[in-house]
């Protein structure tokens, strides 16, 4: 049984509702889909009990009515567990910064670029959009228009 299969078995044993939601893509790639209600405990088990001590990054997705989040966790030896979850737009998600202090920076990116709301972030400046960026503009949302923030007009500097 490969390392990833072992993690899948362990996850399904601990959390019966994960049956069928864990997919082994290949030897070192594991995908876990979990809803918001159970996300915190699955995420904590992976990082605290199962040795996934590295949070590589967080991917944000615009899924229409929902925002998708993929937390890319890894063991130092290279096995990756990608935890997918989703939350309706406007509904706050819990910050992972108590477990991964460096994860706060990824969550600030989600806030700026996707308009996500995150609870439990330590105080700090917004990141990474420019200082003069207008409020309420989130450029990675599907329905965002380049001109609405006054930049990014294609060919605007050439007549």
């Amino acid at each position: 049984m490969s390392e990833a299969e072992a993690v899948r078995a362990e996850l399904e044993k601990r959390f019966p509702y994960l049956a069928g939601a864990v997919r082994v893509q290949r030897a070192k790639r594991l995908w876990v889909e979990v809803d918001q209600a159970h996300f915190a405990e699955v995420f904590e088990a992976l990082s605290k009990k199962l040795g996934f001590t590295v949070l590589c990054t967080i991917t944000g997705l615009d899924l229409g009515a929902d925002l998708g989040f993929i937390y890319h966790l890894a063991r130092p030896a290279g096995l990756m567990a990608n935890v997918k979850t989703r939350a309706p737009k406007g509904k706050a998600i819990r910050s992972v910064s108590p477990l991964f202090p460096g994860g706060g920076i990824f969550e600030r990116e989600l806030i700026d670029l996707f308009g996500a709301s995150v609870e439990g972030l330590p105080p700090g400046a917004r990141y990474p959009l420019p200082d003069d960026w207008p409020e309420g503009e989130h450029p990675l949302l599907k329905d965002w228009q380049p001109t609405s923030a006054g930049t990014g007009e294609k060919g605007a500097d050439r007549e």
Partner: protein, 203 residues
């Protein structure tokens, strides 16, 4: 022979510059060397290059000597306004001995207050714009801007991005555009020689 005046650059501090009288005839070599580095000319670039008649130019030996100095040793400042680093690598390659821009007197400096030519690579991002303008304003006149690479010239592949304004000329006036992605050292050399040629014509 010389008037020394203080010129305040934006961003604080006063840069001392030497203003040469228009009828200055002959200097000793020592004062010439000072003049060619610090000589200031408040006229806009276009006027300086095309302006005066041939007769006036002949009479105005002092100015011609300053031009000569600028042409023979333009000091440059390299500024990355949001490039992917490829053009920066090529600029370094152009400066170092293999291609050797230094044989035209080009010297890389560390501060805008010492430079004549601002060499920019990359598109102007929304965040860098105010910094770029501030650095440009700190360069003593006469100053020139060279945009190295496609992105610096037009925005290139970064055109249309939410965080990018476009080419360097969206923020500050540009004297020379060097195409290429990245611009090759040969192209950078060519661009510089053309810029220096423009100065010569304006001599």
């Amino acid at each position: 022979m010389q008037n020394v005046s203080n010129r305040t650059a934006v961003g604080g501090g006063a840069a001392s510059s030497i203003v040469l009288p228009a009828d200055a005839g002959v200097w000793c070599a020592c004062s010439l060397m000072t003049a060619e580095r610090t000589g200031s000319d408040a006229k806009p670039v276009a006027e300086r290059v095309r302006g005066s008649s041939r007769l006036a130019r002949r009479l105005n030996i002092g100015r011609r000597l300053i031009r000569w100095g600028q042409r023979k040793s333009p000091w440059i400042l390299h500024f990355n306004t949001g490039a992917c680093n490829a053009c920066d690598i090529e600029i370094i390659a152009a400066l170092t001995p293999r291609f050797d821009l230094e044989r035209f007197g080009v010297l890389l400096k560390g501060t805008p207050r010492h430079c004549d030519v601002l060499v920019c690579s990359g598109p102007v991002t929304r965040q860098i714009r105010s910094r770029l303008v501030r650095i440009y304003e700190q360069i003593p006149e006469p100053k020139f801007v060279v945009a190295v690479g496609s992105c610096a010239s037009t925005g290139g592949v970064c055109q249309g991005l939410y965080n990018v304004l476009g080419g360097i000329d969206r923020a500050i006036p540009v004297s020379a555009y060097i195409p290429g992605c990245p611009a090759s050292p040969q192209a950078i050399l060519d661009g510089f020689v053309k810029l220096l040629g423009t100065l010569k014509e304006g001599g």
